[in-house]
């Protein structure tokens, strides 16, 4: 039951972010909770040896959570400051707590013409510096080179990691902490005017929701059963004594 309560929380979080661009769903794992030896004796306490029957699981517990880094579908927005990454890689942004990686490409100019995320964090270029945009129409090619009024301004800093699941940690909303430098090689393509939608699949979420609800109910029934059984045992044993 405790495990399913945690699963319900993770699931609700994924459902809540079904419309958050660049969101990567959180997956949970179940682990066997303690293993115990199962033994058989013939009833007479003096009788040895005790027959060893094997091990018995004592239920499940929640295992480590991990992030599903698979790519979400692309949605065309036509907004020149919306970006998606086609392939494995992350935009680099600067937060007060240090540099972070994200797949969320909703950028805008702030009042000082600096390129920032919707949370107001500065987007960094390939040299780790904030990007200041001159006035004018912004075009970005697939390599991430930003051009305004025909002049090259900067190149988006993109972190590529060979194994994001092992190298990155999910720290704040939609942001990941990881190594300072790229460890992978295949640089993704930057797509201007599109966003990557959440990779949480609605039908899968609904199925999981039903599953969690039923498992929780089943566990609850089992607890009741055990309780009843234990109650009966105590009552009848008491009568004999």
């Amino acid at each position: 039951m405790v495990m399913n309560a945690t699963r319900q929380q993770v699931l609700s979080h994924n459902i809540a972010n079904a419309e958050t661009p660049g969101f990567k769903q959180i997956l949970t794992t179940a682990l066997g909770f303690m293993q115990d030896k199962s033994v058989y004796t013939s009833g007479n306490l003096q009788s040895t040896p005790i027959d060893y029957l094997g091990t018995m699981g004592l239920g499940t517990q929640i295992g480590t959570e991990y992030i599903d880094y698979s790519e979400g579908a692309f949605q065309k927005t036509d907004n020149p400051l919306d970006f998606a990454l086609n392939g494995n890689g992350f935009f680099t942004v600067k937060t007060p707590d240090g540099n972070r990686y994200t797949r969320d490409g909703r950028f805008l100019r702030d009042s000082d013409n600096t390129l920032v995320t919707v949370d107001g964090f500065q987007v960094l270029d390939d040299a780790g510096q904030p990007i200041t945009l001159p006035d004018g129409d912004v075009t970005v090619d697939t390599a991430g080179v930003i051009t305004v009024n025909g002049e090259e301004v900067a190149t988006l800093g993109i972190g590529v990691f060979a194994d994001p699941a092992a190298e990155l940690q999910h720290t704040e909303g939609n942001l990941f902490t990881g190594p300072a430098a790229s460890t992978g090689e295949d640089v993704p393509q930057v797509v201007q005017g599109s966003l990557e939608t959440s990779n949480a699949n609605p039908s899968q979420l609904m199925t999981q929701l039903v599953e969690v609800g039923r498992s929780y109910e089943a566990a609850q029934k089992l607890v009741q059963n055990q309780d009843e059984l234990l109650g009966k045992t105590i009552a009848s044993l008491g009568r004999i004594g």
């Binding site: 809540a16 036509d78 000082d112 909303g173």
Partner: protein
Amino acid sequence: MSSSLFHTLTISRQDILSRMLDLDVTSSNLANVNTAGYKANRSNFQEMLNNQLKEGTQVRASQLMTMQGTLRSTENSLDWAIQGEGFFSVTLPDGTLGYTRDGQFTLDAEQNLVNANGYKLVWDGTIEEGMSNVSVTPTGAVTATDDTGATVDVGTIQLTRFPNPTGLKDNGSNILLETDSSGAAVTGDPGAENFGTLSAYHVENSNVDLSQELTRLINIQRTLSMSVRAFQQTDTMISQAINMRKA
């Protein structure tokens, strides 16, 4: 790590609230699919996660989508459309400035150029009694035909632009207001770099994409019912835990 089901309820509650906000934004976009110069708004959802404590989602801000709308030609010399980034400035009843892309002006009884709400357009010049056919050139010279039939210059109009127009605040009635995130207003002549040019006898269509907004509406409906379902299930789970002993 907190795995309290009550916390899970607040995740879903926050989720449902955000969907409701998004529904408001989308409804308002849909209502303005035919409003001249209207710019669509977008709700920006963002994941809330604080030191591994999952808090669901929230709407960070609604962002103005400032893409150019298509121009539609009209018969009216006082229909002015902007092609480019600029905005018209109008004086609001409280004396402050509001900004709009809706350039359908009329002359009021005192020969002022006003918009549909009666707010005065900010420009430099006067239109004398008896003048007709008031119009504008692409670079902002306001012209009119006087009683002798000659076309004369009666003044000039300037446009306003912002570092981040997507941060302007929607004040209703197709009027936008300056905010901290939009940055300070800069005025300049039409035709100057980045201000855009004017087209008389034209109206800028709303940039709301009907099919996109309808898809959005269906999405909201779907995600909202999913959030409600999750909320109800958490509630059921809590009740099952409470009633464990009884059954």
